[in-house]
Symmetry: C2
Subunit: 574 residues, 2 copies
């Protein structure tokens, strides 16, 4: 993370107004709001409220994010002609209900037999112009070339004396292309970009660089209006941006929350001055704070947008479930979080006590259901099959599946969403039981490496000024406790080594050779890579969870299950 | 299905050879083989064997399918630089080991910083030329624009007196574009197309039309070499094709099996004659036969390519598990299929007897594990939670999850893959228990609508000339038997209506309005659509299964879980 995350850029002074020949300032309002995919009328209602506030605040131009009408990403909903038609009707409704001033809003449009990711300009109660997004991302989590045709024409609108070039998200990520594309359309005072740009660690820094580069290349101000909110595995972080023609960022909107960012744009000779009307807002101080806020928002939105009020989760006394509970409480309130602890004879008295301590410290309800009365008859029934072994991996998995079934039974009975507690390190190497600890609706920390789980807990305690996560939970060597004296370290490398290998292999697509050449131990590299490859089938059946790294499992990393390709280094050749 | 499926096209006569001015025939061999994704050395070994057979058979040109070196689709393996490099080495190895004659083979290539879906021409022990695929499909199950850059240059190679235009799969699906693209490259005697074209019902007819159109437009012969084999949810059906310059299909290779299709290509004045050297091979007689063969091959390849020998599945006495068992037996042999029947007090004596009858008729081993001794203590433990109800849906799901856990426990203990038995109708509306009957590695009939399950069973019995699937199993009204006297018909429309609605909504993206206007009952349309939408989360965690329709669940239909969009028709307005 760059140093910019911890501090707030100072607001650039507007400077004294020259006496003559100066254009009148135009007030722009960026309506950074939490859209829900498919909730056309709900999204329009929210935008109407923001528009009214913006107009009241003197705005001439009100801007909403990419696909604000229908939410992002709508995925294959776009293949439904009725969905595209309904989203058009919703945009027309917004225009009709908000006839004053100019609005720019993202939606999906059909034209000449093609479908476009588009921005509508609303004026005088109707859609007056439409811009079609040109650069369509088709990598990482994006599939835009699956749905949309590329636009070919720039759109520059005049709002008062200010010429505004309308662009959509990716259009701004190639400043060289954009400069060429807009060459005939000058002069431009403001490059407007409506986005649905998902969060990952480091994304904000890239965005800042791109906006700076774009402002410098086009010699104009930049207004960047981003979506906010959780949508399945993605979290949109908001943090809309205003930059002046020197590329200096003059204002940022709230992180991970709705906001209305208002500023005056004033063409000033060859320059453009941008003056925010509000005080600066606090930004996350550290990368860990960013991640934590993303996890909280992602959990809240997945739960609420899918119609759940309460969540439940298994509390083992370990660090992963403790962190997941803490996130859920910040997302939904402690009264909406129910912990279930499900001890067996393999759980130490210390972890059983820690489960209670976690619940006490965080203040949520904890119920206990011992699994022994179920495990014993279950094992007896399976023992009727010759060859069943009650000291092997199948018996370990049985315990996890009984726990998963208990959670799902309570979920079905009481209508609470089950949160799973597996971290990215475990998810990568398949250190989990399918339909056991992976059973649940949402995997809160599935993209958080174990080493970051520790850092997040330490940071929480630091910010709280007390043992929110009990220190015993942080310091005890991790264990699945599915057999006597089991420790994670018996099966896996230490987590520092594991996470370094995983970052290289999973996130950076490095080969075994490259990892070994970088100094990682050859046996561990080979073993971890093998485990990652072999456990694709488990990940394919795991619940969605919040993406916080530049490459998460899921739509971001699409690997075949049937796959005989292996990268390894012969130990003798290291 | 078109009428072509039931019969074999006759081989076009080569005609008498004119005495003068006639070019010498060139012999082409299409090596339709079962590649495994990532198995670079294994794929090369298989191709070496086919090449040797082809050369022995007098072939001048030996052709292998799209991405035959690395298997298709490699998905994000292509993002790994070491994978692309290793696949290049494998192609060079094939060239070195097969120095005689000309080979055209599909692989992945990197050039000028871009990655291409490519065809290598191998001659004299090395790669002499490379063609880059131009039209990159990015719809349905395809994501090729995620990985590849489009080629821009045609490649026409000379083999003896025959000019061969090399194309890859999608390149041939737009004959107008292809005619323009090849305009400068004429004369062309043979359009060669290497493909990895997955099966669905109706695909063979489309392919035939496209090849006919292409031959007519280019006035040349067409040699179409398709991949065969199962890869996760896809099945490639082979059926490579030779067509003459009039567009007449003169030969088809085996369906759902490896084959080496050899023919002589002879430029003959303005025409091109094509003479296969072998007798015609039998093709599937009906669309049902095609589907059945696809299910068998898909099951065999998923099981074997993932290193399993045996499979196990729950046998309920119902039709879905009976059909799944029959497919597994044809795929793997009865000795590798283990059925587990897990009765409860809700199972009627008839269905318990039918489970036994299914096993007897099909000849596989059946074990019985009654769930009551597990269900009773499990229910007792859950009853400790105030509000637990042992007559509700949670209790029904508990039974299914105990069964799922039994199967998974035996799978873990004995290393057999669990097959799930849910059909497409159930999968669509979520008539299943997550981690219960959806628990398993491969969902054999997940894309087969219930009405087709009945048709397939009737066809099996017809072909066998006996009750392979017991008639009682076919005629008894379907029931999940999770509560007293439960019937599917209590919760769902009759299956004819359900499947008609599902085809319209799931496969054709129709709106509620369109379905009601087509005469379907409004309450059922609204209810089924609601169920399909609400159960996206279950499908997301279900195992992969074989795609047989033009739109399957999975990568073929990508919908958000969090999605408030609903299409419905107000009953008053019908």
């Amino acid at each position: 993370m760059g140093p910019a995350f911890g501090k707030i850029p100072s607001i650039a002074a507007c400077g004294a107004r020259p006496a003559f020949g100066v254009a009148i300032a135009v007030r722009v309002a960026l309506g950074q709001f939490n859209a829900t995919v498919g909730d056309l009328s709900g999204n329009v209602e929210t935008m109407k409220g923001l528009w009214a506030r913006a107009v009241e605040g003197g705005a001439d131009l009100v801007v909403f994010p990419e696909m604000a009408i229908c939410g992002y990403p709508p995925e294959d909903l776009v293949y439904k002609a009725h969905f595209v038609a309904d989203n058009r009707v919703a945009a027309e409704q917004l225009a009709a209900d908000c006839p004053d001033k100019t609005i720019v809003v993202g939606f999906v449009t059909r034209s000449g037999g093609h479908v476009y990711n588009a921005a509508a300009v609303l004026e005088g109660g109707r859609i007056t112009q439409v811009y079609h997004k040109c650069l369509l991302p088709n990598y990482s989590v994006f599939d835009e070339q699956r749905y949309f045709k590329s636009g070919t024409q720039p759109l520059v609108i005049s709002v008062g004396d200010v010429n505004v070039a309308v662009t959509i998200c990716e259009d701004m990520w190639d400043s060289e292309w954009l400069t060429d594309f807009l060459a005939e359309a000058r002069p431009i005072h403001l490059a407007l970009n409506i986005s649905a740009s998902p969060f990952d660690v480091g994304k904000m820094e890239s965005r800042g660089q791109i906006i700076t580069r774009c402002a410098s290349a086009l010699h104009c101000g930049v207004a960047y209006c981003n979506l906010v909110g959780g949508q399945d595995d993605l979290v949109f972080d908001g943090r809309s941006i205003l930059a002046d023609a020197t590329g200096t960022i003059v204002a940022r909107a709230q992180a991970f929350d709705e906001d209305l960012l208002i500023a005056d744009i004033e063409p000033d000779g060859g320059k453009v001055s941008i003056t925010p009307t509000q005080a600066v807002v606090a930004q996350p101080e550290t990368a860990l704070d960013e991640v934590y806020q993303a996890l909280v928002l992602g959990t809240r939105d997945y739960t609420r947008k899918n119609g759940f009020k309460k969540v439940l989760l298994g509390i083992s006394g370990g660090i992963d479930s403790a962190l997941t509970a803490a996130i859920a409480i910040d997302a939904l309130g402690a009264e909406n979080v129910i912990g279930i602890t499900m001890p067996s004879r393999f759980n130490s008295p210390e972890t059983i006590a820690d489960a209670k301590k976690v619940a006490d410290n965080l203040g949520f309800e904890l119920k206990t259901i011992a699994i022994e009365p179920i495990l014993t008859p279950f094992n007896k029934s399976l023992s009727a099959v010759p060859g069943w072994d009650d000291r092997g991996i199948a018996y370990e998995n049985l315990q996890a599946r009984i726990r998963g079934t208990i959670l799902m039974s309570l979920s079905n009975q009481f209508g609470a969403l089950v949160l799973t507690t597996g971290n990215k390190s475990e998810t990568s190497v398949g250190y989990s039981t399918l339909y056991g600890d992976t059973a649940g609706g949402f995997a809160v920390i599935k993209d958080v490496p174990k080493t970051m789980v520790y850092q997040l807990c330490a940071r929480m305690n630091e910010l709280a000024g007390r043992e929110l996560i009990p220190n015993d939970v942080i310091t005890r060597p991790p264990s699945a406790e599915l057999r006597p004296d089991q420790k994670d370290a018996d099966s896996l490398p230490d987590y520092d080594t594991l996470d370094t290998i995983l970052k290289g292999y999973v996130e950076q697509d490095k080969s075994a050779r490259e990892l070994v050449d970088a100094g990682l131990p050859v046996e561990e590299v080979n073993r971890v890579i093998r485990l990652v490859d072999l456990n694709e089938y488990k990940r394919r059946q795991s619940p969605p969870g919040i993406r916080i790294t530049p490459k998460a499992f899921g739509r971001d990393r699409r690997l075949p299950i049937t796959n005989r390709y292996r990268t390894s280094v012969a130990p003798a050749h290291q």
